[in-house]
Structure formats: C-alpha cells, structure tokens
Amino acid sequence: MSEVLLSLNDVTVRRGSSVVLKDLHLQLEEGQIVLLSDKNGAGKSTIIETAAGLLPLETGEVSHHSNLLIDSNGRSKRPERAFGLTLQSDGCIGSQRVEEHIHNALDISGGRIEIDPWLKRYNLAHRKHDLVAHLSGGQRRKVAMLAGILPGFVGSQPRILLLDEPAAGLDKASRAMLLEDLHKLQQRGNAILLASHHADFNTCATHMFHENKLVANESAEKATTHHEDIKTLQAKGNVSFRTSFTLNQRTLSTVANNGIAGLLTLGILLALVDSSAVDSSVIQASGLFLSAAFAAGLVGDSMISMLHEQKALDWWKAHRQGIPNSYVHALVIGSGLTALTQLGFDSELSIELILIGGLLTSATMAIVRAMELATSRLARPRAAFIRILTPILILPFALLVQWITDSNLL
C-alpha cells in the first residue's frame, strides 16, 4: 500500500472576513498528482499555502509523511523531509542570483543535483549568474518553478511538491517540458499538489480536487518516460546564514541603511556636543558613545524589505530553516560606530564598550525585526505603523547606560 505523504485533516482556514476552506480533507499518496483547477477565488492558493504550513488553522491539522506540520492549537514543527514549493508570487529575492535560489531550494532538501542541464532545458543557462530582479516575469517564473520541482529529484525518498500555478507566464514549449518533468517526478514516487488553470495538466493529473472532493482522473495519461537516475551531490549547510551574508555583501544594504543612520547620529552629536565638555566618569559619556550604535539598530533589518519582494518571506517561512538576517553585519557596524564615536570625542578606546556597541546594534535590530515580522501576516504590513512601538527600546538603553556607569567600564 502506498504511503500517505501529505494529509490535510478537517482543515478550516479563514482569510480576510471569510472562511476560505471549511472542514477540508485531502490526502496525497506516493506517486499521485492532484490537480486543483477550481475557478479564481475558490481557494487553490490557500490549499497550497495551508499544505506548506503558512496559514494558521481554525480547525484541523496538516501532516507531512505522517508527522505533524501544523495544527489549530498553534503547534508547528519543521518537516523531517523538506518539500518543494513554488508560490504563486514566485518567492524569490530579487538580489539573489538564479543559481543561488535554486541551490538554496536543493540545499534545504538535503542534497544538490547538477542544475546546468535544467537551466539549459528551460533556456535559462545564459541567465545562471543574473540577479532574479533582472529577469523577465516568465523567466522569474521558471526559476520559481525549478526551485519547486528540483527537490523531487534529490535522493531516493519521495517528497511532497507544492506547485502553485507553476506554468503561469510559461510558453507552450516550456509547459510541455514541465508536463514531462511532472511525469518523471511522479515515477520517482513524489506526491504533487498542483494548482493550475492550464488544461495541459489535465492529462498528467492522477486525481482532480474539485469542490472539496478528490476524484480519480480517468483521462490521465500513463507516463511514457523512463525512470532516470540523477546523481545526488553533497548539500551545503547554513542556507539562511549563507544567504544573509551573500546578500549583505552584495547589496551593502546594512551599511547603506543602518550604517548611514548611525553616522548621521554621530555627526549630529559631534556638531552639538563639545567634546572637551564630555567627562567619561559621568553617566552621559557611555550613553553618548553608544547613541550612534543604538540609532543604527533602530533602523531595523534591511533584509526584511528584500524578503517582502515577491513574498520571498513566505518561501523562507515555509521551509522553517531560519529567515535570513543581518545580525553579523549589524555587530560589525555597531562596533565600528562605537569606536568612531569614542575617537570623535577624543576618548580612549574601550574594547568592552565597542563590543557592547556591536551587541546593542544587533539586539536592537533583532527586536525591531521581530516587531516587523509580527505584522507580516497583515494585508498591508508596511502600513501598520509598527515603528510606533520602538520607544520600548529607550528604557532598556537607559538602563544599559546606567549599568555601564555603575560598573565603571569607562
């Protein structure tokens, strides 16, 4: 008997002011391709996102490989076997290269395969090193689609592949190739949940899910392709950290946002405060020296803005491998700003204070970032005025300054 890979049990999901899914029951077994082909607004993307564990459940639970992924009590676990995911909104960070996004998807799934033949197959080989932001809409869709299907070729164990409109914007030839690849994935035992309007997929789907009912597709064509062995290579670890570091190095976004805010604060302090009047034994000195680092942290994590592009944040959240951040760069920038401030006020450099400055920037950034992530589910997260709550950080800053003074660190 085939193993059940994906299971949605009595799932109810609300979006906006309406109940989109009501007591939904859906199971996918090995080698099944289930096509969601209801009309617009029927909840196809909601089913995909629910299966990926992205939406809170009113009732029921979602399981991957018989292990709980998410339930209505708020419990959420990382899937033991990573799944392939193509979101309706691509989910790629614009500042990433094509190969990086696909490699990330493969590394998350625990192994790499040679991607060049796939890029060539979909006419993306010449775009391998390009930034995703530089691609056309159709090319970006191909990258998102490849990141969703290629994990199905990694290793010998069958996986869940969740594909939301993978063929949107693809030409006829690419759609035909995708159809062929879906057959290959099916032969490997993968369970594929596919949302699409294209009639092409009616022939490959083993089942149709329509109006909450799973019906076997009598017109499904048998796969004619033969099973090919694809060599799995070693995956590279620390996907989230690697992405954070690479993006920060490439865009210098933390320097441009947090660093500039810190430098401006330092400039204002130097313009307003007479350095000869600063007595390092009084409470103001440590507060003064840490102000630029604090201001840099208050700007928040620029990575969040990048992740809001094409809903990349959802892609990272679904994989539960950590969300890219700028903490390391914040640590360096905070330390540097604290050192610069001390030098600017003709004070002796204090290693302890420099370290505290770096940690202060990172910690402040982490709190502002947590606030922003807490509102990411909203329809308009950037309009939610979350920065109104940043004064929460002033009291801890004041207490830190007090502690430094009491500890005679300066």
């Binding site: 929460i392 009291l395 007090q402």
Partner: protein
C-alpha cells in the same frame, strides 16, 4: 432610546471630568510648600490619577477583548478590543499630558527616560496608538484581528509592571496615592475630589466604550451588506 444611552453616559462623564478639574483648581486644599517644589502644580493630580485609573480600565477591556477574539473568535471580543484601544489612547494621552505638566513644574523636565513607571505607561499609550492607527490602515479580517489581538495580549503585561513600578524601582515618580500604605494617605477633602474624578473618568470610559462598540458593530454590518451586494 438605547442609541442615546452611550451619548448620555459620555456626556455625564465629560461633565464629571469638568467638575473635577474645577474642584481641583478652586476647592482642593493647598499642600505644604515644603513638600513640593511647585505646590500649585500638584493640583493636576486630581486629573492625572483618575485619568490613569481610567486608562487601566480601558487596557483591561482591551486585554479581555483581545483574549476573547484570539481564543474564542468572538465578534464581541473584537469590538471590545477596538473600544479598549481607543479609550486607552484617549485616557493614556490625558494621563501623559497631565504628568508632563506636573513633571515640568516639579522636576524641571517633562519626561524622564529612566523612570520605569513613566516609560511603561508611555509604552502602553504608544501600544494603544499603534493599535488604533494600525487597525485603520488594514482591511478588517482574521489576519488583522489576530495580529492586533496578539499585541493586545502581550501589551497587557505592561499593566502590572506599571502598577508595581514605583514600589520596586521608585526613581522620580511619586509612590501610589491610593493603596500605598501610610505614605500614600490623603486627607478627607482631597479623597472626595479624587473619588469624584475617579467616578467621572470611569463613567467617561463606559460611555466611550459603549459608543465605540456600537460604531464597530455598525461598521461590521455595513461591510457584510457591502459583501452581500458584491455577490448580486
């Protein structure tokens, strides 16, 4: 008749608050000139303390409403959340404004960033401001309600912290004037005016919450009617 109840209670609250202000300025006994830097400024307490009392009631309503929505999906809970946030913002700003007036006169500065009670209360008011502005910026829906209810639940942690702050870390803020033991005792006339103030602000909060809940209820009804029309 029922529609006028909220307005009547709110009006009664306004009259009471005005009366409290008048009694504080004209009738309340003067305090010892040795006890305060600026004795006359102390009269602002007859406004400040009841406003803070009312703010805590509003934040309590906000918390209960947030919990009812979050755990029970109660529409009444969401209306309480909205009303609590709006009332908390109004009374929180009254408290902060009156406190800053007194701080300027007594301490020489309107705000002290190291005083725990000032800051935790300020944060509660900022939270209410965030909840009011944030809600207005979003379409109504389960995502909006879940997110803001979560902030309402977490924010309530600040209420007990604010209450005990002057007992645990008294820096500049005076200790409790009611329920604070011998050091917080009031003479009879002072207590009467403070009681009138507390009752007036409580009536104001009740009126404000009832009116706000009615407006939210009407907004919800309007939205459901609009959705029904969308389907025609």
């Amino acid at each position: 008749m029922g529609n006028r109840l909220a307005e009547s209670i709110l009006l009664l609250g306004f009259v009471g608050i005005g009366t409290t202000l008048m009694l504080a300025l004209l009738k309340a006994p003067s305090v010892s000139i040795n006890a305060f830097e600026s004795p006359d400024a102390q009269r602002i307490f007859y406004w400040h303390v009841p406003a803070a009392w009312a703010a805590f009631i509003a934040f309590g309503i906000l918390f209960v409403g947030s919990a009812l929505w979050f755990f029970k999906r109660s529409n009444l809970g969401w209306r309480m959340h909205v009303a609590g946030a709006e009332a908390g913002l109004a009374t929180g700003l009254m408290t902060i404004w009156s406190g800053m007036v007194w701080g300027s006169a007594e301490w020489g500065v309107p705000w002290d960033w190291t005083d725990v009670r000032l800051n935790t209360f300020g944060l509660l008011t900022f939270l209410a401001l965030f909840l009011v502005l944030g809600r207005q910026s979003q379409p109504d829906g389960v995502e909006t309600r879940d997110t803001f209810s979560t902030f309402g639940l977490f924010g309530f942690v600040l209420v007990p912290v604010t209450y005990v702050a002057t007992r645990l870390w008294q820096i500049r803020h005076p200790g409790p004037v009611v329920g604070g033991g011998d050091s917080g005792s009031l003479n009879g006339e002072m207590a009467v005016i403070l009681l009138i103030g507390a009752i007036s602000f409580t009536v104001f909060i009740i009126g404000h919450v009832l009116m706000s809940m009615r407006i939210t209820s009407l907004e919800q009804r309007l939205e459901s009617l609009q959705e029904a029309l969308d389907k025609v």
